[in-house]
């Protein structure tokens, strides 16, 4: 799977977190969610994204790619990320 961030109408970043305006919603992004978007300005393989996140935030428990999938799904359903097989 490859992912790429979706453009938002507005974004305020403070520290390593953010608040975004997208699809008529105001959403607060955790440091991890914000990093996912920051690292996916171009299409990126999920495995590469998982590796980059591990460098920033440390290794997750279990398989890094599998650990990432639910968060990618959440961001995609919120319109903040697009995915491609």
């Amino acid at each position: 799977m490859r992912v790429r961030r979706q453009e938002v109408l507005d974004e305020v970043v403070r520290g390593d977190e953010a608040v975004v305006l997208s699809g008529g919603q105001i959403l607060r992004l955790s440091a991890l969610a914000h990093s996912i978007r920051a690292l996916s300005c171009q299409w990126i393989e999920l495995a590469d994204l998982a590796g980059a996140l591990a460098e920033r935030h440390g290794e997750p428990d279990g398989d890094p790619v599998e650990a990432l999938r639910p968060m990618v799904a959440d961001l995609a359903s919120a319109g903040l990320l697009e995915t491609r097989e």
């Binding site: 507005d10 305020v12 975004v20 008529g24 105001i26």
Partner: protein, 276 residues
């Protein structure tokens, strides 16, 4: 049919209230008395007032004789009860000016009072029915009244006054709010332009003895707290960025849990005492 007009100037917008009905002149006089600080002729001289940003809006209202048949739905506010009609008129004016100023102003669902000489304004954000009007009533005398409903912040940081009547809940009025002339409550218009000096996010508890609790909000928390209490936000360019700039240039926002408006006095004193 008899008609009369009441020209208002609110939130940088001219609004003509056109009144019809058998007692049009009398009802127009009542409207002018309740909206006395916003009557265009005087509102143009209020500190910080600006010329209308577009063509005048028109809001039509008709006070019906009790014997009248049910009217058509043609956008005209109609009713037989003067008190209810005054409340609906306020709501209609608010909706109309918000629609007209969307994109030009950062509009917060908030009340605001300012220092009469410096224009330093405290903005208190709160959902409907949770303390904006009461705070204006209790802490407004001696300060400049800016609004009890919608604070319109211009790009230059000044506030566009919305000098509407104070909407006052009355237990014996079955849910209808009394639209009280600000003058009756000792409130007056700003003599100088007002600028945001501080932002409070109000959380009023039902128990008036509730202990005051003040929490400083970091910017992201303040954005998610305040954004739901805005108007036209989604149709404004970069509204989060704008709101963050407003908050951070005045020391951020504070969330205040309280039981009675009098508890807010020290905070309001402190913010209005700042140099804008």
């Amino acid at each position: 049919m008899e008609t009369a007009a009441v020209p208002l100037h609110v939130l940088d917008t001219d609004v003509d209230i056109v009144v019809s009905g058998t007692r049009a002149a009398e009802f127009a006089q009542t409207i002018a008395e309740r909206w006395h600080l916003a009557v265009a002729e005087l509102a143009g001289r209020v500190g910080g007032a600006r010329e209308s940003a577009g063509d005048p809006l028109t809001v039509e209202v008709e006070l019906l004789d009790r014997a009248a048949k049910t009217p058509k739905t043609d956008g005209v506010l109609r009713g037989t009860d003067e008190r209810s009609l005054l409340q609906r008129l306020t709501q209609q004016v608010t909706r109309a000016v918000i629609a007209a100023r969307t994109g030009d102003l950062l509009m917060l669902h908030a009340g605001a009072l300012a220092h009469r000489e410096t224009g330093a304004a405290v903005v208190f954000v709160a959902p409907g029915g949770t303390g904006k009007s009461t705070t204006c009533r209790v802490l407004g005398p001696g300060r400049a009244y800016l609004t009890d409903e919608t604070v319109g912040i211009r790009r230059d940081g000044t506030i566009a006054p919305y000098l509407k009547p104070i909407s006052t809940r009355r237990t014996d009025w079955a849910g209808v709010k009394d639209e009280v002339a600000p003058m009756q409550l000792g409130l007056d218009a700003p003599p100088v332009p007002a600028r945001v000096a501080g932002v409070l996010v109000l959380r009023r508890e039902p128990d008036p003895e509730t202990e005051l609790e003040v929490t400083t909000l970091e910017t992201l928390e303040a954005l998610t707290d305040i954004a739901p209490e805005t108007s036209g936000f989604m149709d404004t360019e970069k509204p989060l960025t704008w709101l963050a700039e407003v908050l951070e240039s005045h020391g951020g926002a504070r969330r205040v849990t309280y039981g009675s408006a009098e508890q807010l006095r020290p905070l309001v004193d402190e913010i209005c005492g700042r140099l804008p």
